[in-house]
């Protein structure tokens, strides 16, 4: 039976009463028809019927459900009581709704990304193979493996079924259908990749081992979406050919609509063709594994650890180092880098919710104070303490359920804005929706919060001396004595929690500001960039690629409003290609190869970016193929690898490919690509050793290898406000119409994207911290306002006896500031521990940065002063004569 029936009971009982009246009327009529007088008939009818009131009462007793009924009565009463104080009720519900809404939004995110299992069959048997390295410096992991490791595992592993995907390969590539170019996301996977994931093509098949070897046939598997787009869902697509990167590929399979590749999304898959050289010479394969039936996770992990140890020992390890392979649950691996930000957010919204509860508890306590008489009356006429507590809890429950309902709405809005804000930074956020699980969690949260903020005030309110509360004089002193203490404790704790959030937000702000104010090393204004994938069969030779560069740059520089243009393998603020190198005049250390970032550039690159030359010269059009090979390095290179000595004239590498360093340029900021070098700073954006080579002197091999991971960038500097975002693609397509131009962005956007994660976290935690401080301020305000109201008489007497208003206000306000100071001190100590948890998000700022702590303390004191002085000013309106008379 639903609760609704008990709500509607009144109507049903009225119907019964009406029915009985009708019965009596009928009977009277019946009797009168047999000749009785009306008076007689009515008397007899009443006698025969009995007392209708008693019968109604009997029915009423029957209808009540012993447990639910008082509960419903409490709820109805609670609703009535709350309606009488709309200001309080609205404040409470909105506070709760905001806190619960924030929690719901973040919960949805955390649930979808961290908690819910992956959409692969038996996904708990899926893992990623990660290399673990233990050295005297510590433990490190490497997510990708090289071709040697892959082949070793493929030939030996028995307890796990393994497959690989070429890492970092989700870039856009060109697909040509009917002479129109489109940009699709390609992924390269090994034979058995889909089998390992447990998802089979809906049509056709996946790659065979024969296709998955260097020089194997060109075959492709399409995503459901791409299949619909290209072939409109025609199953005869299998066997057809598509032109991918300028090469004809035969479609052999189509994946189901529900299939999502782990990690980066893909539209088309081609065989990975792993090898030990080229791409496979470096750690560029992500290996996935499924524990075979009949074996346990432990079997698989054990075998991989053994195989890994054998392999790495065979390949040689520096002294004191150990390496092995580890099996990491797939989900864990996929959320690497996403987990911590979400956990931090969850912790922050949790704190805000806690503060909201504390605040409501404080509000309810002062409310209970003003209701002391009502409660005392009820207890005096026999209501038990349990009944009073139950009644007060019902009020909290009504508040929190209403807050939860509204919170769900706010959660939906919050999730949408989180997605809008965050999906550029965290791709996984884009597909999260608010669902039944989130609704259930919100409901649970609402009920939980009602206990959190309702129980203490309810217990408090019901424990007092009835006679004191009822007598007029008593209610002001004795009943109120213990309550302010608890309220003060609550306020101190909410200030402390707010301080923790503020400190974290402050450190994040300092991190962000620090990163943003780094000298870019070039002039980013008026720069626009665009990428073109050259993973194309037509662009395999250096000469052909340089022809494209030259022609398109000529076309661009001829366009109106374009000052200069250049092509480079990558951009500042991006992640660059890592490569080892040697000096021709230095014996290489076999244990430690120096590493640097390498990129090719066209001659005017340095001019377009307005970088400065420190030593020697930069490239000229004369540094062409056939001319002596040259390179330009940057200052960090000079500092970390050339011992600070001008390296112009030294040669990199040996033999016929040795390059002479002809110049040194200033540093630009780039993304941390993980290479080790002396004096390296651990920051997401930093200056790293860079080697530039002229595009004209770049070999076919370097082009082909680097173009598997990187799409070259066209950068133009505009003189006027021309619409570069249209001019740029048009110029490139005037040279080759079949090259899709992607990512047309201003340099400012590139710059912003590089620190978007820091910006996002700073914004979110900042907003939550502000909310926390506002709640704390409301709490302080409440305590002071309440004490002014309660001590009206006392102040009246003081003023009458000659105390000045200013002194009285100061006394009262100082109480609030004192609370804030106590909270700030406790919060400061708590922060010292809490910031350790967010250390991985901080750069360029000390965990215990004194400026942040002092700033937070000052901000809080300012807020607390305002929150304390405002209510204290009510004393000004006190008329001593009036307060004394009452």
């Amino acid at each position: 039976m639903g609760l609704g029936r008990w709500w509607r009971r009144g109507a049903r009982e009225r119907q019964r009463a009406e029915e009985m009246r009708a019965h009596l009327d009928l009977y009277v009529e019946d009797l009168m028809a047999r000749g009785r007088t009306r008076a007689d008939a009515e008397r007899e009818a009443r006698l025969a019927f009995g007392n209708p009131r008693v019968k109604l009462e009997e029915i009423h007793q029957m209808t009540r459900m012993p447990i639910v009924d008082p509960f419903v009565r409490d709820l109805r009463y609670a609703v009535r009581v709350l309606r009488r104080t709309p200001a309080f009720t609205v404040t409470a519900i909105v506070t709760l709704a905001l806190a619960i809404g924030a929690c719901t939004a973040v919960f949805s995110l955390a649930d979808a990304i961290l908690i819910r299992p992956l959409s692969y069959p038996d996904s708990d048997r899926l893992g990623a193979i990660v290399a673990v390295r233990q050295s005297p410096e510590g433990v490190g992991t490497q997510q990708s493996q090289d071709g040697t490791t892959w082949e070793f595992l493929r030939d030996r592993a028995t307890t796990v079924d393994i497959a690989l995907t070429a890492s970092g390969f989700g870039r856009n590539v060109n697909l040509v259908v009917d002479n129109a170019a489109a940009s699709v996301r390609q992924a390269r996977v090994s034979a058995g990749y889909f089998r390992v994931l447990g998802i089979h093509p809906v049509a056709g098949r996946e790659f065979t081992t024969d296709e998955d070897r260097p020089g194997g046939p060109a075959v492709a598997v399409l995503s459901h979406r791409l299949w619909q787009r290209l072939f409109h869902g025609d199953r005869r697509a299998v066997g057809q050919s598509i032109l991918l990167r300028g090469e004809a590929y035969e479609v052999v399979g189509i994946m189901p609509e529900t299939f999502r590749s782990p990690g980066e999304p893909a539209d088309v898959w081609t065989p990975a063709r792993p090898s030990r050289i080229g791409e496979g010479g470096g750690a560029n394969y992500s290996v996935v594994a499924r524990v075979r039936p009949g074996h346990t996770w432990t079997d698989g992990a054990g075998e991989l650890a053994r195989l890994g140890q054998a392999l790495f020992t065979e390949r040689g390890l520096p002294k004191g180092h150990t390496r092995w392979l580890s099996l990491v649950p797939m989900q864990h691996e996929l959320v690497r880098g996403v987990r911590e930000p979400i956990q931090m957010l969850a912790a922050a919204v949790g704190v805000v919710l806690l503060i909201a509860c504390v605040n409501l508890a404080a509000l309810l306590i002062s409310r209970a104070g003003s209701r002391a008489k009502e409660i005392a009356t009820r207890m005096a006429i026999g209501s038990g303490r349990a009944a009073v507590v139950r009644q007060l809890m019902a009020e909290s429950l009504v508040l929190s359920v209403a807050g939860g309902a509204l919170g769900l709405l706010i959660g939906q809005l919050g999730l949408e804005s989180l997605k809008a804000l965050g999906s550029d930074t965290f791709q996984e956020w884009g597909r999260v929706t608010l669902d039944a699980r989130a609704v259930a969690a919100t409901l649970g949260l609402s009920v939980l919060t009602s206990f959190l903020f309702g129980l203490v005030p309810a217990l408090q309110a019901s424990a007092f001396d009835i006679s004191a509360a009822l007598s007029d004089s008593g209610s002001r002193n004795s009943a109120g004595r213990s309550r302010p203490t608890i309220r003060r404790l609550l306020v101190v704790s909410e200030v402390a929690l707010g301080v923790v959030l503020l400190v974290v937000a402050g450190l994040l702000i300092r991190t962000f500001v620090g990163l943003r104010s780094l000298d870019p090393g070039f002039d980013p204004s008026q720069l626009t960039t665009a990428r073109v994938s050259l993973q194309d069969a037509r662009y395999k030779q250096s000469a052909r690629i340089n022809q494209l560069f030259d022609d398109s740059l000529t076309a661009l520089e001829r366009a109106p409003g374009i000052e200069s243009a250049a092509v480079s393998l990558e951009l500042p603020y991006s992640r660059l290609l890592n490569s080892g190198f040697t000096f021709a005049d230095e014996a290489p250390d076999p244990k430690f190869w120096p590493m640097a970032n390498f990129m090719y550039v066209t001659p005017r690159f340095f001019e377009v970016l307005r970088m400065s030359v420190r030593h020697g010269r930069v490239f000229t059009p004369d540094d062409r193929a056939g001319a002596p090979l040259v390179a330009v390095v940057n200052e960090t290179f000079l500092r970390s690898w050339a011992k600070g000595v001008n390296p112009v004239g030294r040669r990199l590498g040996g033999g016929p490919t040795a390059r002479e360093i002809v110049g040194v340029v200033n540093d630009v900021q780039v993304s941390n690509s993980g290479i080790q070098f002396p004096g390296r700073a651990s920051a997401p954006i930093m200056a790293s050793p860079l080697v530039f080579i002229p595009a004209a002197q770049t070999s076919d091999g370097f082009f082909q290898t680097s173009h598997t991971w990187f799409s070259p960038v066209w950068t133009v500097r505009a003189t006027t406000a021309v619409n570069v975002s249209q001019v740029l693609p048009r110029a490139i397509n005037s040279v080759d119409p079949l090259l899709p131009v992607n990512d047309v962005r201003s340099m400012a956007a590139v710059q912003a994207a590089a620190i978007s994660q820091q910006r996002l976290l700073m914004t979110l935690v900042g907003v939550l911290a502000v909310a926390a401080v506002l709640l704390a301020a409301v709490g302080i305000h409440g305590v002071i306002a309440h004490s002014v109201t309660e001590r009206r008489r006392e102040f009246g007497i003081r003023l009458a006896l000659g105390a000045t208003t200013a002194a009285t206000i100061r006394r009262v306000a100082l109480g609030g500031i004192g609370l804030a100071a106590a909270g700030a001190a406790i919060g400061g100590v708590m922060s010292l521990a809490a910031v350790r948890l967010v250390q991985s998000f901080l750069w360029g700022v000390e965990q215990h940065d004194p400026a942040t702590y002092i700033g937070v303390a000052l901000l809080l004191l300012a807020v607390a002063t305002v929150a304390s002085v405002l209510p204290a000013l009510r004393i000004l309106r006190l008329d001593p004569a009036e307060t004394l008379r009452n």
Binding site: E19, L26, D30, A48
Partner: protein, 126 residues
């Protein structure tokens, strides 16, 4: 208050069961309003069972709650508004079960009671 209510409910259970069955039986011959039900019971039991008319309503309420009867507002033969009750299929089934249970019980009680009466007769004749 509550305790009192519960007690009354418990006391009424035995009688209520019987009254419920009588009401159901009465409705077997067609829909009727409260007064008709009371009069039918009285008439059919040869005026032995005098039902306090008001007591019908708690019983009707209880039976309706259980889904054995359904109620609707209609007009009586004298053109007055009255609430009519009719047997639901579930009520019909329940009545059948209840009637056979009652008969079994009545027979059993009869068997138990008969010897006692014989004994009494014998001792009386001595």
């Amino acid at each position: 208050m509550r305790r009192k209510g519960r007690q009354r409910e418990a006391d009424g259970d035995m009688l209520a069961g019987t009254l419920d069955m009588l009401i159901l039986r009465t409705l077997q011959s067609g829909a009727a309003h409260g007064l008709e039900i009371a009069q039918r019971i009285q008439r059919q039991s040869d005026e032995v069972l005098l039902v306090e008319q008001g007591s019908l309503y708690p019983a009707l309420h209880r039976i309706e709650e259980r889904g054995w009867i359904a109620a609707y507002w209609g007009t009586s033969e004298t053109n007055r508004r009255a609430r009519f009750y009719r047997l639901t299929p579930r009520g019909r089934k329940h009545l059948l079960a209840e009637t056979s249970r009652w008969e079994t019980l009545a027979r059993a009680i009869g068997r138990v009671l008969r010897p006692v009466r014989l004994d009494a007769a014998r001792s009386g004749s001595r």
